[in-house]
């Protein structure tokens, strides 16, 4: 049943550009980027039990790397060099922030991750890096050329859409492999009982730091492509509203379940799109929606669906 639904959803995403207009192709490409971002956070929140409220720092840093990796603003950078640079920068930042933040736990960890991401926000906001508080435009999209051959063009909406679909599937597969490995089982063990894992001889700090770094790197990939799609970077991409948004996606879909993060990203972006089309004051219904959704659906949409079907509860 679940496999069938998954195949139908994937097929629907694959044929969407053939039937839908440019608006929806762009919207769904954006949603898939956010889904990758949300999956990376779910590795921390749902799998390892680390509630980070600063995940936008890695998303934001990588988006800035699109601008910073270019020698000048009218030169095209290669996707194949700038993407690894952006991911490596985010991973390094996540390693440093994680090394400090993981010295704390629980509510301290929430506050400390929030504070460090705010520090990254201020670095982009207060200094002259890439346009300061105004941000910077990306005049030329990164090129995917390999030698003289150009496999796809990131400036083309449909090409970009399929590239993001590939990124989504790739990230999902990668994280599934990771979770099935010894590493993934250790992370789940830390979530359910860290004391026991330590008693068993696991260096839990190192495991958590590795998870934090991997999550930062994947968030970086999402941030990179978000900057490419929007054609502009600004400090807001590293803001705490962005961190709260992605956390909302994770919990809205259902924690600890990679599919939940994807479902949450779709639900939240579509809800935002819907409310903002209704009224200028859309944050009021959005806030009410957030409160009601979290109050009524503690297991998220996936959990609610499983409860409806009378199945087992959705943590796994």
């Amino acid at each position: 049943m679940r496999r069938v639904l998954l195949a139908i959803a994937l097929l629907a995403l694959a044929i969407l550009p053939l039937v839908a207009g440019k608006f929806y192709v762009d919207l769904f490409a954006k949603i898939m980027i956010m889904a990758v971002f949300a999956m990376s956070l779910d590795l921390l929140v749902g799998v390892t039990g680390l509630v980070s409220l600063g995940h936008a720092a890695f998303f934001g840093l990588a988006s800035y790397m699109v601008v910073l990796a270019a020698p000048d603003k009218y030169a095209a950078v290669s996707l194949w060099t700038s993407l690894p640079i952006a991911i490596a920068a985010s991973a390094l930042l996540a390693f440093v922030i994680g090394a400090l933040a993981l010295r704390t736990r629980g509510v301290y960890f929430i506050m400390v991750t929030l504070a460090f991401s705010q520090m990254v926000y201020f670095v982009f906001h207060d200094t002259k890096i890439a346009g300061g508080s105004d941000g910077a435009y990306i005049y030329v999209k990164p090129q995917a050329n390999v030698g003289a051959w150009s496999p796809f063009d990131l400036g083309n909406g449909t090409h970009f859409y399929y590239a993001m679909l590939a990124l989504l599937v790739l990230t999902f597969a990668l994280l599934r492999l990771l979770l099935a490995s010894r590493f993934g089982h250790a992370l789940r063990g830390i979530r359910s009982n860290e004391q026991r894992m330590r008693a068993l001889g696991f260096n839990t700090y190192a495991y958590k730091l590795a998870a934090f770094t991997v999550a930062g790197a994947i968030a970086g990939a999402a941030g990179y492509f978000a900057a490419v799609q929007f054609g502009v970077v600004n400090p807001e991409m590293a803001s705490w509203h962005q961190s709260a948004n992605v956390l909302l996606m994770v919990i809205l879909g259902g924690v600890g379940n990679l599919l939940g993060a994807v479902v949450g990203a779709f639900a939240l972006v579509l809800a935002q799109d819907f409310f903002s089309s209704l009224t200028k004051h859309w944050l009021l219904p959005m806030g009410a929606f957030v409160i009601i959704a979290v109050m009524l659906l503690p297991g998220g949409l996936i959990g609610a669906w499983q409860a409806l079907r009378g199945g087992r509860s959705g943590h796994g």
């Binding site: 509630v51 409220l53 629980g106 506050m111």
Partner: protein, 290 residues
């Protein structure tokens, strides 16, 4: 640095630090006693500032506006705990974070619907609008001194309340061992409501009294909230003394940072937090083990 300039920066540091303390003390008490992470705490500061703006233009007097505003804030906090926050105690931190984030969106949009999105100024009362001359060319506004003195009075009252009264004893007991207080037969629901109303009133008071010195603008609560988290992390969760020390420390670092390293002043506070985390991950003063 000349002596007058140095003196002005010291006064600014103390003023900023004390304002932060008023907001952070409520945040740390609400977490220490109820175990709730309240992201909406910065909104109370914002709502206070907008209340001062609205009421002072209605009544024509800032002091009347503040007196009325404090009463409103206590009532608002009491009701808000009853209708919303009391449902959060059983939830985990992750859900508390998101529920109170949703509340921020609601508060900001209500503010936008009722007062609008413009930046406003609140005029300084005529009795305090003079400036104190410092040296031959510098001066310091009396109103800014008044903020520091008023905050100091409120902070002293708060410490007296916590250290010398029966209510304060219950609050301190609640912060160090919630379960024990409950099992001793103290009306914990009432205690929670009082502490929450107190926290809201402190944050709103800080917003009201700071309004004439800074402007009143959308999103002003979020900035304060995040710095207050840093205060709580440095001071130690649940510790009001820690919040005072950390708030003053941040006041000095931020103010002098703006003078010496203007490009990096926004970052210094967070670097301080990083250093403290390496040295003492649980904060300078930790009173309870939450």
């Amino acid at each position: 640095m000349d002596l007058p300039i140095f003196l002005i920066q010291v006064l600014n540091s103390v003023q900023y630090g004390l304002l932060l303390f008023l907001v952070a003390s409520g945040l740390t008490l609400i977490f220490g006693i109820m175990g709730v992470v309240n992201l909406a705490h910065g909104s109370f500061y914002m709502l206070g500032a907008y209340t001062a703006f609205t009421l002072s233009s209605l009544t024509g007097n800032l002091f009347t506006a503040i007196a009325l505003g404090v009463v409103l804030a206590v009532a608002f906090g009491y009701v808000l705990e009853w209708v919303f926050f009391s449902f959060l105690y059983r939830r985990d931190h992750l859900q508390q974070v998101l529920l109170t984030y949703g509340l921020i969106l609601v508060f900001e949009e209500i503010r936008s619907l009722t007062v609008g999105d413009d930046v406003h100024g609140v005029s300084v009362p005529a009795s305090l609008s003079a400036s104190l001359p410092l040296g031959s060319t510098m001066s310091y506004p009396i109103y800014n001194l008044f903020i520091s003195v008023a905050c100091l009075v409120v902070a002293t009252l708060l410490f007296l309340l916590l250290r010398k009264t029966r209510l304060g004893m219950m609050i301190r007991a609640g912060a160090s061992n919630r379960e024990m207080v409950r099992s001793l037969g103290i009306d914990i629901d009432f205690l929670f409501r009082v502490v929450f109303a107190l926290g809201v009133a402190l944050a709103a008071f800080a917003g009201m009294i700071a309004a004439p010195a800074s402007s009143v603008y959308p999103g002003m609560g979020n900035q304060v909230l995040i710095i207050c988290f840093v205060v709580v992390v440095i001071g130690g969760i649940g510790s009001v003394t820690g919040a005072l020390v950390a708030a003053l420390l941040i006041g000095f670092i931020d103010t002098f940072g703006k003078v010496f390293l203007p490009d990096y002043s926004g970052i210094l506070v967070y670097l301080l937090m990083a250093v403290i985390l390496v040295w003492r991950p649980e904060g300078l003063f930790r009173e309870n083990a939450v």
